[in-house]
Symmetry: C2
Subunit: 543 residues, 2 copies
């Protein structure tokens, strides 16, 4: 067999879960562009791109089969290029996570994913049967092996593809972001490349889907482990590389290596943008408190969808400092968003009066603080209902962990931008964002500098109720993200009483998190699909 | 080997997820009772009883291993009886769902579950590695084979146990309830018994855990498929049977065959009772509207925890009919619960005034209805906060399906008793409950007879916005529970526009359900862990 230079297009694109006709249209448009503009012989799409990722229980609908078959038939309308797409397909009564190569409507090779992830946020064994065989196809004299996402994290599938004659591996991914994920991915693929001696074309999905953010970062790695080309993170891109059977020719890498702060910030922006756009909201509304969480959330929202679609509301009460009012207004002004002030005193007073007979003889407690938060929640939801705006909530991961938040109050809303961002990282992200536009930093410095306060009681400070945030966040990281026991955390140098108190708060507040808005996952263990705790729970820390 | 009569105790008991020390104490007490009162040689407990079911991500905590090892060591304190318990155990770095037989602290046999369910509400492949071998142990000359729950739904494990010499199968279960489940279970076990020719001792868990209700219904089935004994549903019981190697001697069956209405009602009562008790609430509070859902919820709450721990609140507004006020009061009076009336007009007026500038030029819409529902939600939550009472919500499955409910309004609360009960079944359950105490039927007849209304606007009726409930519920059953496509439902004789409208409502309102309270699952597809839909979702019905 003679070989000729092979041009492979990497389609790092954003798909909408469930929208098979829309996703097909995008596949066809990108394939035509790759053929016409990039002279590509083959275009490689992400895993399950025809239905989007993760499709979850949509996969249980029998009509998926018929819709996918129809889409695959319509792929024939793109001619003159090999198209490698991912889709679910039923064979002999079992559902497989498939990759198929089509040319002019003919299926040339089909591969069923062998390694099905069923941990963290993944539930693929709920739906799919694992494949058992390699699939290799020939194009212009080159033999290309198919793999899907998790396959490349294990030795078996690459080795099987090589044994079946593959000279290069194509790897279709739907790999969600967490902090540091790109470094992990490259290391894993490099290990695989060195183990099997084959180059890898790694194509990843990009975009937000509920709590997941897919960060792109597709790349081509040569057989010596060198990165040949790397696509940008957090945005769509169509790129081409040329392979002559021993070496690649590629455009210079367009992937910047992002700092931790930069990749988290971009993940949050993309998560908000895709949630708003894919859900069809006209815009967003959020409450500004004068504090750091709402200030950062506002900046992210504006970076995601522009100031014209963002409305900010300040809802002061007796305990709201003048500084908070000034700073909230400054934040809205600097970012150019619509800003209103709606005092909540009349509503709080009305509730207190209505409840007075019920509360006769009972002392003041958190109930009165929650009334303030809930009056604000009701106002924001009313504006949301009337104007078709999504309410963004502003609770950070530290607060969500220990329940320092009010159900149906500050937790009322559809998307919690900072849900997986610990408070100490919130501070860093504010500094990061201000440095991006030093002439007009969106977050006033004193918002960053003043001690955090919920302002639900006179002279209240977060640290009256909680350990200092650096201590709290490290205990939380160990307990929540690393599953360390109380004993292990104490042994690492933390005060026993503090550790036990924090753990009790985390365990107790599962009921709040169960009703919380979803929010973009940026760590390897967010409070979403990757932490499935019982609400009724007799587990006790530190016995 | 000589054989003697073997006395096997079935421990149908309720355990608390996560509370390993508490569960161990219960195991020890029941084992001692079985030995002393029932002269049992062996006591069989439910699956995973030491940690409770389902333990979910508690299983990812490394300290589970140490806590379980400690509990198994302490089992040695029970002597003179074989104890068969379920627990998670790590072997060679992999976690198994185990059953182990202990005698005087010695592990005589250990079995790892072979068939791991990973569908519906089950995620066992997330945690466990499947076992590969049968386990059989001898006791008084009898050879007993071990199986765990799902194992008995497949041919392999029973056949392997028989091949390994088993003469009788012990099957430890944590099998959750849905309507008609007991009939399914007995049919499956009967088929297995006939296939392998061995009798089965089937022991099930009982109790509520979050959305799951375990209904007990343990039984012994002889090798000819005859039911030897059957334990009651929805309550704890310790029973004994005697096996002489060919026949059983057992007490007469105490299991009544329950009607559909009866088993659903008992499931709801047990679900509420265990949620309240296991969470440690002092009691519950709920809003009474004068409608049928809150009337039924109140009756269930009182049957679950008694009238002294239940508080009912009526929160009338302009659109509340006099009849509703009268009926709510009658319901509270008939059941003997504390009853208050808190009109919401002052709060609604205050919100409307505060929002007037924001809403200038915009017409009246659902926003104003939601304000009423949310004012009520805030009042109930305040009472909950102040008094330590759980707020029960009253939304039924039909409403939750189509989003005929207000987030942070009538949806505010911790446990939604009717979440999986379609409206047509709500009517039947009211009639059922009234028949239980015909001298004092808790639900006034005209509450059942009047057309359902949310009373959020003048002369509002549910059927102004929704199809008649018998039509709606059948479309929902087909779409939600059976995954039928729009085409299939239309082909079954339903109006196309109605079908498409209902499906659109179900799909659109996923965001509400995501923040809904949990509630007891009584169907094979509740809106909980067994229906995992994306919020952002481009799937369209009827294309």
């Amino acid at each position: 067999m003679t070989t000729a230079a092979l041009r492979i297009a990497l389609a790092q694109a954003d798909f909408l879960v469930g929208d098979i006709p829309g996703n097909l249209a995008k596949v066809k448009a990108l394939a035509a562009e790759a053929r016409d503009r990039l002279a590509a012989d083959l275009i490689v799409f992400p895993e399950l791109c025809l239905i989007g990722y993760p499709p979850e229980d949509l996969l249980l609908r029998p009509s998926v089969e018929q819709r996918i078959e129809q889409a695959l038939n319509e792929l024939a309308e793109v001619t003159g290029i090999h198209v490698l797409v991912g889709y679910p397909r039923l064979c002999a009564g079992r559902l497989y996570n498939m990759a198929g190569v089509f040319r002019d409507g003919v299926l040339l090779a089909e591969y069923a994913k062998q390694e099905l992830p069923n941990y963290q946020v993944f539930d693929e064994k709920r739906y799919f049967t694992p494949g058992r065989e390699a699939a290799v196809f020939a194009l212009k004299g080159h033999r290309l092996g198919l793999t899907l996402c998790e396959d490349i994290w294990h030795s078996g599938p690459a080795a099987a593809a090589k044994a079946a004659g593959a000279e290069l591996l194509l790897n279709l991914n739907a790999s969600p972001f967490h902090r540091g994920k790109q470094v992990e991915r490259e290391a894993v693929v490099r290990a695989r490349v060195k183990e099997c001696g084959l180059p890898v074309v790694y194509v990843n999905l990009v975009g937000g889907q509920d709590e997941l953010v897919f960060d792109g970062g597709s790349f081509v790695m040569a057989a010596d482990g060198r990165l040949v080309t790397a696509l940008p993170r957090f945005e769509e891109q169509l790129s081409v590389v040329e392979w002559n059977g021993s070496a690649f020719i590629a455009a210079p890498s367009s992937q910047d290596v992002l700092t931790d702060d930069a990749e988290v910030y971009q993940a949050l922006v993309l998560g908000v943008r895709d949630y708003v756009e894919k859900s069809g909201f006209r815009g967003v509304v959020l409450g500004l408190s004068g504090g750091i969480d709402s200030a950062l959330t506002l900046a992210i929202a504006v970076d995601a969808i522009g100031p014209a679609r963002v409305q900010a509301i300040m809802m002061p009460y007796l305990y709201t400092a003048t500084m908070s009012l000034e700073d909230a207004e400054a934040e809205a002004h600097r970012l150019g968003v619509q800003y209103s002030v709606l005092p909540i005193e009349p509503m709080v007073t009305a509730f207190a009066a209505a409840l007075a007979p019920e509360f006769a003889g009972l002392g003041r407690d958190k109930t009165e603080e929650n009334l303030q938060a809930r009056a604000r929640g009701v106002l924001l939801m009313a504006i949301s209902n009337k104007k078709g705006l999504l309410v963004l909530t502003t609770g950070n991961k530290s607060e969500m962990a220990v329940g320092y938040c009010t159900l149906y109050g500050d937790m009322a809303g559809g998307f919690d931008v900072l849900k997986d961002v610990p408070k100490t990282l919130v501070f860093r992200l504010c500094e990061y964002r201000n440095r991006l536009t030093p002439d007009n930093p969106p977050i006033p410095q004193r918002v960053i500098d003043r001690p955090p306060s919920a302002e639900l009681a006179p002279d209240q400070k977060d640290e009256d109720s909680l350990p200092p945030y650096p201590v709290l966040d490290e205990i939380l990281r160990r307990y929540v993200e690393e599953d360390e026991s109380a004993e292990a955390i104490v042994a690492a140098g933390f005060d026993r009483e503090t550790v036990l108190r924090v753990i009790r708060m985390v365990d107790f507040n599962e009921y709040k998190r169960r009703q919380a808005a979803i929010g973009p996952r940026i760590t390897a263990r967010g409070f979403g699909k990757d932490r499935r705790y019982p609400v009724v729970n007799g587990w006790k820390a530190g016995d």
